[in-house]
Amino acid sequence: MVYLTRKVEFSASHLYHNPDFSPEENRRIFGKCNNPHGHGHNYVLEVTIAGEPDPRTGMVLDLKELKDILQREILDRMDHRFLNYEVPELAGKIPTTETIAMTIWQLLEPRINNPGHRGQGRLHRVRLYETPDLFVDCIGNGQ
C-alpha cells in the first residue's frame, strides 16, 4: 500500500454559536470563538489517498485529478468565505475544526472513491489544521 498526500490551503472566517444555548452559555462554552462578528484562520488541508500504484501509470491516483477535485469541492466552496453563512453543508452546524474536517471527508469521499478515476486510490485520511497547534484527523472506518 502506498499513501499519497496533497496539501492545500484556504482562508475563511467562522464563529461558534448554538442558538439553543443562552448568551452566557455560548460565551462560557465557546469563549472568544463566540464573537458574533466572527474571526478567521488560514486552514491547511492535507488529504491522504491510499492504494496500490496502477501498473500502467505508476500512480495511486492522478494528482491532476486530485488537484481538480480539491479545487472544485473544497477551495471553490470554502476559500475566502464566512463558513457559517456561505457554505450550505455547514449551515446550522458549529463549524469547529472537527465539523469542517468531517464535512470535507463527506465531500471528498464520493469523488475520490470513484472507479472512473485513473488509479485505484481511496480516501484514507483528511487532516485539517486550524493553526499549527490544533488539527483534526478523519480516518475511514476499518483503517
Binding site: N18, G31, T97, E98, M102, D133, L134, F135, V136
Partner: protein, 140 residues
C-alpha cells in the same frame, strides 16, 4: 469515520541520560553527549491526540479549554522549566529519554474524562520525534 483531535503544547526542560548501575564509560558509550553529568535541555513539543464522538451541540470531540487545563495541571506545570531527572519523581528511577517521557505523559493523560486518549507524540528536536499509545504504567 473516526475523528481524532490533535493539540500541540510546548515545554522546555533539562535532562540527563544516565543509568546509575552502569560505569561512567558505559554511560558515555551508550548515551554519548546526553550522559553529560550536568545535564542539557530541549524545547519539547508535545502532541496530545484524543478521539471520540463529536457532540452535535458544540461540534467538538472535547472542549479545548478542558484539554488545555488538564494537560497544564497534569504535565506542563510539572515538566516545564525543570530538571526532569531531579524534579519529576517518575524520572528518578526511569531514564528520561523521549520514549520514556512519552510513556509517562501517556499514562498521566489516559484518565482524561472528556474524550479517549488516542496517542501522545513528542518532538525532542526538529529531527527527532516519538509517538506512544500503549500500556505503560508510571507506578508499576
Amino acid at each position: 469515520m473516526k475523528v481524532i483531535l490533535h493539540r500541540r503544547y510546548r515545554f522546555s526542560a533539562a535532562h540527563r541520560l544516565h543509568q546509575p548501575g552502569w560505569s561512567p564509560e558505559e554511560n558515555r558509550r551508550v548515551y554519548g553527549k546526553c550522559a553529560n553529568e550536568h545535564g542539557h535541555g530541549h524545547n519539547y513539543v508535545l502532541d496530545v491526540a484524543v478521539t471520540g464522538p463529536v457532540d452535535p451541540s458544540t461540534g467538538m470531540v472535547t472542549n479545548l479549554a478542558d484539554l488545555d487545563t488538564y494537560v497544564g495541571s497534569h504535565i506542563l506545570d510539572e515538566f516545564d522549566h525543570v530538571y526532569l531527572n531531579e524534579q519529576v519523581p517518575a524520572f528518578r528511577s526511569l531514564v528520561p529519554t523521549a520514549e520514556n517521557i512519552c510513556r509517562v505523559v501517556y499514562d498521566r493523560l489516559r484518565a482524561y474524562p472528556h474524550a479517549r486518549l488516542a496517542a501522545v507524540g513528542l518532538e525532542e528536536t526538529g529531527a527527532n520525534s516519538f509517538e506512544y499509545a500503549g500500556e505503560f504504567r508510571e507506578n508499576d
